[in-house]
Amino acid sequence: MISALTVRIPTAVAPRVQPTMISMNGVSKRFGSFEVLKNCSVDVGKGEVVVVCGPSGSGKSTLIRCVNGLEAFQAGSITVDGIKLGHSTTDLTRLRRRIGMVFQHFELYPHLKVVDNITLAPIKVLGRARAEAEAKAMALLKRVGLAGKADAYPAQLSGGQQQRVAIARGLAMDPLVMLFDEPTSALDPEMINEVLDVMTELARDGMTMIVVTHEMGFARRVANRIIFMDQGQIVEDVETQRFFANPGSERAKQFLSKILNH
């Protein structure tokens, strides 16, 4: 692994001419006196894949949960596709319709069949007809390799399968952005790849993605940029190649040597 790190692999990183999809400006968040996020600013262009990494408790999850308003923040602003999210909760549902989210613990609805998990929001939130929503759900299940599981309940599926259903559920709303909050951390090792494969394909299809993950292989293959966080601050925000070859900060170097060395 070390040798791979020192060799610079020339890959064409597309210059960022794409319009900005997500723009975070000076976002800060406190829990009491504890500062979870300190003055975080990030821009994510349309079609970009950004991996957020860093030690536990560095604020990675909180950062992406701010993007769709699941966490409130005290200072700064976030704009997603032109919709501004101040520190008050304005127009949150309108914003969330366009942002898919995948959670560490899947959070499928256990009382609903797989197909109903996927069609619930399109029917209730977007007002789509059931037949139309179901046709789309079937297409999405096929895309994540689970065409035969529409009538199963979540508890009957493996962790990897559940997470792929969760991705399909997010995609059913035709999102502009997909957020992934440690999507493989709760999975058995042999199921991680089936989820990462679906995510890789999604990235290839041009989806704008922010992914919180410890899967550095995935980050290296798929991400355009890496954001490294520590103690609530964005320490690095650089192109993938550069991050792995020559991280700018001491903290990132330490982090990389710890997680790539075993």
Binding site: N68, L70, L92, T93, R94, R96, R97, I99, G100, M101, F103, H105, E107, L108, Y109, P110, H111, L120, A121, K124, V125, L126, R169, G170, M173
Partner: protein, 219 residues
Amino acid sequence: MRYLDWSVISHAWPFLWQGLQTSFLLLALAMAGGILLGTLIAVVRLSASRPLAAVAACYVNALRSIPLIMVIFWFYLLVPLFIGRPVGTFTSALIAFTLFESAYYSEIMRAGIQGISQGQMGAALATGMSRMQAYRYVVLPQALRRMTPVLLTQSVALFQDSSLVYVIGLHDFMTSVGIVANREARLIELYLFAAFVYFVICFSASRVVKRLQDRMTVA
């Protein structure tokens, strides 16, 4: 035992049966209304609005501190004073039971809602649902399912409590038994019979609840 005359029961059965039906109707409607209202109160109590949550908490605590028989009695006496006309005994009893039981059902539903992980609410909100939609389609169906055995156990108690409507003279099963017992001067037979009927109904219901519970633990 040879002084007992059980034929009085078969003679009075049509009248007693009518009373039993009234009891069942009261149970069914108060249960439905109580669970619905109780769920609403539980949601309000868990809402982010502190004043609303405090009002809901007051409601629950107040009703749980008053004996049911007082609620039935006072509702029957006071409401006509306010609305200026008498309320039927059944309506009066039904409203009293619904309000009273909703306090207990709301505590059960609150526990049920708190037992569903925060992540479920987060997932629902993340797909653009409003809080109300998230409760309705995601959180409450799970809470209701999980709490069904407890809600049914509470309803068995409600059925027993429904005998208290004798204070306002509603012809439920217990009142009917009392009427026949006094008319025929056969108190022992009729009250033994009443005890037997309540026992059979409540015991079978709690067996059903137990089986339901066992099945849910396996699943």
